[in-house]
Symmetry: C2
């Protein structure tokens, strides 16, 4: 059952009673997102946190030269949102798009805030999820500032092994911060050296 | 009184009773950190969240060439920690050092977790603080991926106006991702163009 996907993630961190689960079903909204459809577009105001049930989302911005730059991927089991736009009601800089046909649960910020009154355990789950996102972003920043493109690619392959072949290669190139041409040459060299297939 | 610094930040987000405040005083530990002293060193395991009462901390890593790379600054009123090391008990990649003589409150992860049982409102405060850190890091990543060094410097001046003159310039150069020489030339040009003093 589709709700099991989110309950599984939650019960990794907190315990949920039968009543909690029934309650959670009432505060999230299921949505199918076709490949290349948007959950959030630049200049909109974010209203929801998204939990990825299946598929994969990517968050990107369009730079001053009109080039898309991938900030992060959110595969199955991950949460994503523009927290700045959600908290401060500012217009977002980001786009959140489905990389393939995907399914998500949408949780509005007001439902999130109300839910912790009804089910205080959820606050621990949300806090832990946000803290894990913080860990991911600090590591990503560290990769960008301190690692070579090759190291960043090998890290990507390790962290997102399911995405390496499935995601358009130009998105991965953008994520690791190189041009598609450089990326293609780099992968060829890695194959020649037997590092990657 | 020194505790007012942390209560002020907390009451921006939650309400605290007199009893809550007395309780919070028992779970944080005051510490003075001299300039250039460390709160966390690479390969240690992080035990605390740090709240900056006065002064400023910087988080940096040392890259494979032995060069320090500044990940972030944490001025007065900010929290900082290596959340990855705290949550997963892994050895940290980061160094957290005082830029000038500073004062912090230390909050252990176990005290943080226990405190929300005693004072559930605190969970909202912690969650909101972590979410704001997430906003900061996503914006920082966006700056690094999509902006020029000049834009990054001007953003730094806007966000951290108190630090611009006070912090060693080589740290700011590292933060915006350029060499001290490039940084010096860039600032000279900005002054000549009347953008900055």
């Amino acid at each position: 059952m589709i709700f099991e996907k989110i309950f599984e993630k939650m019960t990794d961190i907190i315990s949920l009673s039968k009543e909690d689960k029934e309650y959670i079903k009432t505060i999230v909204t299921f949505r199918k997102v076709d490949r290349k459809d948007f959950l959030l577009k630049q200049n909109e105001i974010e209203e929801y946190y998204y939990f990825v049930i299946s598929g994969c989302l990517r968050t990107y911005i369009i730079d001053s030269k009109g080039v898309e730059k991938v900030i992060q991927f959110s595969p199955q089991g991950w949460w994503i949102a523009d927290n700045e736009s959600l908290i401060f009601h500012t217009r977002t800089k980001f786009n959140i798009e489905a990389v393939f046909d995907s399914e998500v649960f949408m949780l509005s910020r007001s439902n999130m805030i109300n839910s912790v009154k009804r089910c205080p355990e959820l606050r621990s789950y949300y806090a832990e999820s946000v803290e894990r996102s913080l860990v991911f972003l600090r590591n990503r920043l560290n990769e960008i500032l301190n690692m070579t493109a090759k190291q960043r690619y090998l890290n990507f392959c390790e962290k997102f092994s399911n995405l390496v072949e499935a995601v358009p290669q130009k998105y991965i190139a953008s994520y690791i911060g190189v041009t598609p041409e450089f990326f293609s040459t780099m992968k060829k060299k890695l194959r020649e050296n037997g590092v990657k297939k």
